[in-house]
Amino acid sequence: EAGVTQFPSHSVIEKGQTVTLRCDPISGHDNLYWYRRVMGKEIKFLLHFVKESKQDESGMPNNRFLAERTGGTYSTLKVQPAELEDSGVYFCASSHLTSGGDGTQYFGPGTRLTVL
């Protein structure tokens, strides 16, 4: 079974530019999550999709960030326009849709974003 994949692995952009990150969850996983780790700090939750619907977007920093999950499969996270403080590693994770259980999340390798 293929794991969660993310593209690109690295992205270096200038302040003010636009970047789009992509995440492909594990096949059959209805839950998809985005997290971000700023250098040296904790990994912070950004948002949660159930299929194509945003279940919780309480962690999104501001309206420069737009996440989509058309068709309930892969997801994209667009940052427009990028600012210096957006630099960090963006992780995607997925899990089964279950009403109970520990809801273990399976993570991708992350996209390292550097904004210059």
């Binding site: 794991g3 969660v4 692995s9 839950n31 999550y33 997290y35 040296g40 700090k41 904790e42 990994i43 912070k44 939750f45 949660h48 279940q55 919780d56 962690g59 992780f91 899990s95 520990d102 809801g103 273990t104 999340q105 399976y106 993570f107 991708g108 390798p109 992350g110």
Partner: protein
């Protein structure tokens, strides 16, 4: 709000020795889940071990075990017989029963010395 604290930014262990990574958390909830994840350099984060708060028995996965002290809100990870492949960043995470999102600590970088 819940918080997770990993007070050791970096740890080193000699190959074949045992090391313990600490994690404390703060919550007013009685039931929740705790996780340790490992992220090797440039690779994806993988689940090492999980613990359900209502289970008093400490979880164990091969060379990895936890010391779960619910009253003290402590969830340390013990790695026995350390191997070079254990070198990674280790993250402790908390999840409430009623939500899906994880709350992470800042991570501990583990170096394994040959």
């Amino acid at each position: 709000a819940q918080t997770v604290t990993q007070s050791q930014p970096e740890m080193s262990v000699q190959e074949a020795e045992t090391v313990t990574l600490s994690c404390t958390y703060d919550t007013s909830e009685s039931d929740y889940y705790l996780f340790w994840y490992k992220q090797p350099p440039s690779r994806q984060m993988i689940l090492v071990i999980r613990q359900e708060a209502y289970k008093q028995q400490n979880a164990t996965e091969n060379r990895f075990s936890v010391n779960f002290q619910k009253a003290a809100k402590s969830f340390s990870l013990k790695i026995s017989d350390s191997q070079l492949g254990d070198a990674a960043m280790y993250f402790c995470a908390y999840r409430s029963v009623g939500t899906y999102k994880y709350i992470f600590g800042t991570g501990t970088r583990l170096k394994v010395l040959a």
